[in-house]
Every structure is written in structure tokens, then in C-alpha cells.
């Protein structure tokens, strides 16, 4: 595939679904610099994955899959090491925090709860909240549908428990 064609497809994906990348970045990295780094890494992997996309799944499913695979294997310290001494200035300013106007305040609460989950459960939680079916989650994560069910029930209970705890206090 020509680079220009890949760029065109990638830009189209980014324009339509960049929210997916933001959600994954926000759930897996917690400092602004880390988020810039992870966003760049995910964007790079999505860009590289354009060639491999065969249309067997929807674009959002594909992007979620690539983003989660990247985020879960990503480690800031290792990443820096592997890049050698590449200056971070290269990615500074790539990502800017947007105004929270129009965003439900419960979103940040959800991210705080998601941050406390284990890496894999975090992926399942993101997919669940974005309305993916058990079958789709199972295919993305690589576990059985019944295991997805078990994990989702645990996550729901944890969220409900936390909510009740906060309501009491």
C-alpha cells in the first residue's frame, strides 16, 4: 500500500474514532507526559496496522484492539529505554487537554475506578462501557465469552460497591 493511501485511511480513522484512542490513553497512563507518549505509540501502531486491516471487523473494533494491545504492553520506562535517548520534545504538544464543558462529571469518577482495576479488567471495562457485546469483547481480549461474563460481573460489583461506599460516606 502506498504511504499516501495509508495516510488517507489513517486520517479518516482518526477523524472518526480518535475518542477510542483518548479513552485508552486516559485509562492506561496517568501523567500528561506519559499520555502524550502512549498516544503517540498507539497512533503509530494504528497507522502501521492499516495494511493488515481486512475489514473482517468494524474500524472501531480494530482500533480498540490495536490500542488496547499497545497500551497493555506499553511501559513508559521501557519505552524510553527502547527509543534510546530520543528527546521527548518530539511529542510535546501532540495532545492537549480539552475543556470538560459538556462532559458528564461521572466520567472522571469512572476513570478513577477503572484505574484501580488490573490491566486486563481495565480493557474489559472500557469495552463494556462502550457497548461492545460479550462476543466482541471475547474476540478482542482473547478469552471465552463466559470469562468475559465473569469479569464484567466482577467489574459491575466493584463499581456498585464503590458507589454505595461513597454514598454512605
Amino acid at each position: 500500500m502506498l504511504d499516501s493511501e495509508r495516510d488517507r485511511i489513517f486520517n479518516g480513522w482518526l477523524a472518526g474514532h480518535k475518542g477510542i484512542l483518548f479513552k485508552v490513553v486516559h485509562a492506561y497512563a496517568f501523567e500528561h507526559e506519559d499520555r502524550q507518549d502512549l498516544f503517540q505509540e498507539i497512533a503509530l501502531q494504528v497507522w502501521r496496522s492499516v495494511d493488515a486491516f481486512r475489514g473482517e471487523s468494524s474500524v472501531p473494533t480494530w482500533m480498540y484492539r490495536v490500542a488496547l494491545n499497545t497500551a497493555i504492553a506499553w511501559n513508559r520506562k521501557e519505552d524510553r529505554h527502547q527509543r534510546g535517548k530520543q528527546p521527548l520534545e518530539a511529542v510535546e504538544g501532540l495532545l492537549t487537554t480539552a475543556s470538560s464543558d459538556g462532559r458528564d462529571p461521572r466520567v472522571e469518577w469512572l476513570y478513577r475506578q477503572i484505574a484501580q482495576l488490573k490491566d486486563v479488567d481495565r480493557s474489559v471495562a472500557l469495552l463494556m462501557l462502550d457497548g461492545f457485546s460479550y462476543k466482541e469483547i471475547a474476540a478482542i481480549v482473547g478469552i471465552t465469552e463466559s470469562n468475559v461474563g465473569v469479569k464484567i460481573n466482577r467489574i459491575k460489583s466493584a463499581l456498585a460497591g464503590k458507589r454505595a461506599e461513597e454514598a454512605e460516606s
Binding site: 475518542g19 502501521r48 462532559r103
Partner: protein, 214 residues
């Protein structure tokens, strides 16, 4: 608060995204990363497919110089460039076969998160065993060492200098080649210990997490 309500709250991000992206900077960053990967691939390809024929051609040249000059030669003299060339060829073949086998192993994995974690683990296993297992260390280290020594000895023999005046260069060269091999192995093992093993443990923990309710 029900899951439906949470999902509704969650979807408010679609209308008010968490971040903005500088797309021009992103394109620039992607280009830089891709250029870096390409240049690494080029260097590796050059080492594997360019350096070996070059070294073999050099050794063939030494062989013909020996063959056509007027000095008396023993069969050991002719054996040196042949051994050197064979060692280079063996090294390149072993490297190619090992990489190809690893690429085939990695192709077995699918696109799911679990498969990707398993693929990363397979890559790390490949890198760690190359640096730690004795047979792999010997496979990667002995042929270039033998080839280097053969080049040195062939160079010495072609000049017809007596061993008594040149021995320090020869012994020094052999010790230097041996030293480079030992330092290379040490650096690789240090990388395994500091970088690859912690990463491997983290990925194994992830795999366990994926398996914890299976």
C-alpha cells in the same frame, strides 16, 4: 446508578472529547518513527546480506593472491581464507534460519490481546535464549570469531613475515577478537537481566491475569 446510566455518562465523551490532537505534529512524529524503524532494518539487512558477501569476497581475494604469487605456500595457508569464508557463510545462514523460524513461530499468533501478549513473550524468549543459552551464544559468537581470526592469520601469511616478529600482533588480535566476543555476550546478558526479564515477568503476569478465570 445502573450500568445503563454509567454507559450514558461514558458516552458524553463522544460529544466532548478528553483531548485535542495536533495532527500536523502527529504526522511528523509518525514519519520520524517510521524512518527510524526503516533505518534499523536497513542496517540489519546490510549486516546480514551485505557484509557477509563483502567479507567472503575479501577472503576470496586473499585466496587468489596466495594462489598467484610466487611464494611457497602450504595447504594451511590456503585453508585460512576458506575457513574464514565458510565461517562467515555459516554465521549468516544460522542467523537467517533462526530469524525465519522465529518469524514463523510469531505468525501463529492471532490479533487478540491474549495472542499479542503471547507473541511478545515469544519474542522475548527468542531474545533471552539467544543471549543466555550456551548453544545460541556459541552459534552467534564462534563463527564471526573464527572468521576474524582466519582473516588475521591469512593477512599475516600473505605478507610472508616471520612469526617471531609478528607474534604479538597475531596473539593481540586473537585476544582482542575474543575480548570483543566476551564483552558482546556480557552486554547482551546485562540487557536480558535489566530489561528483558522484568518485561517478561510483567507479560507473564498479564497472561496469568487473562487466564485467572479460565
Amino acid at each position: 446508578m445502573s450500568l445503563d446510566e454509567l454507559m450514558k455518562a461514558w458516552q458524553s465523551q463522544d460529544a466532548a472529547p478528553l483531548y485535542g490532537v495536533d495532527e500536523a505534529l502527529l504526522q511528523q512524529a509518525l514519519r520520524q518513527e517510521e524512518a527510524k524503524v526503516e533505518s534499523q532494518r536497513r542496517v540489519e539487512g546490510w549486516v546480514l546480506y551485505g557484509f557477509t558477501p563483502l567479507a567472503i569476497a575479501g577472503l576470496a581475494f586473499l585466496f587468489f593472491l596466495m594462489f598467484y604469487d610466487d611464494d611457497a605456500r602450504t595447504s594451511w595457508d590456503f585453508a585460512l581464507p576458506i575457513v574464514g569464508a565458510a565461517a562467515f557463510l555459516l554465521w549468516a545462514c544460522l542467523l537467517y534460519v533462526s530469524r525465519r523460524a522465529q518469524a514463523l513461530r510469531e505468525r501463529r499468533f492471532g490479533a487478540s490481546l491474549r495472542d499479542q501478549v503471547a507473541r511478545h513473550l515469544a519474542q522475548l524468549d527468542y531474545q533471552t535464549t539467544r543471549a543466555v543459552r550456551l548453544d545460541n551464544v556459541l552459534r552467534d559468537g564462534v563463527p564471526p570469531f573464527v572468521a576474524g581470526v582466519a582473516i588475521m592469520l591469512a593477512g599475516w601469511r600473505i605478507n610472508n613475515e616471520p612469526f617471531s616478529t609478528q607474534w604479538h600482533w597475531i596473539v593481540g588480535g586473537i585476544l582482542f577478537s575474543g575480548g570483543v566476543s566476551v564483552v558482546t555476550v556480557w552486554l547482551q546478558r546485562r540487557r536480558v537481566k535489566r530489561e528483558l526479564l522484568p518485561r517478561k515477568r510483567r507479560l507473564e503476569a498479564l497472561l496469568e491475569e487473562l487466564d485467572d478465570c479460565q
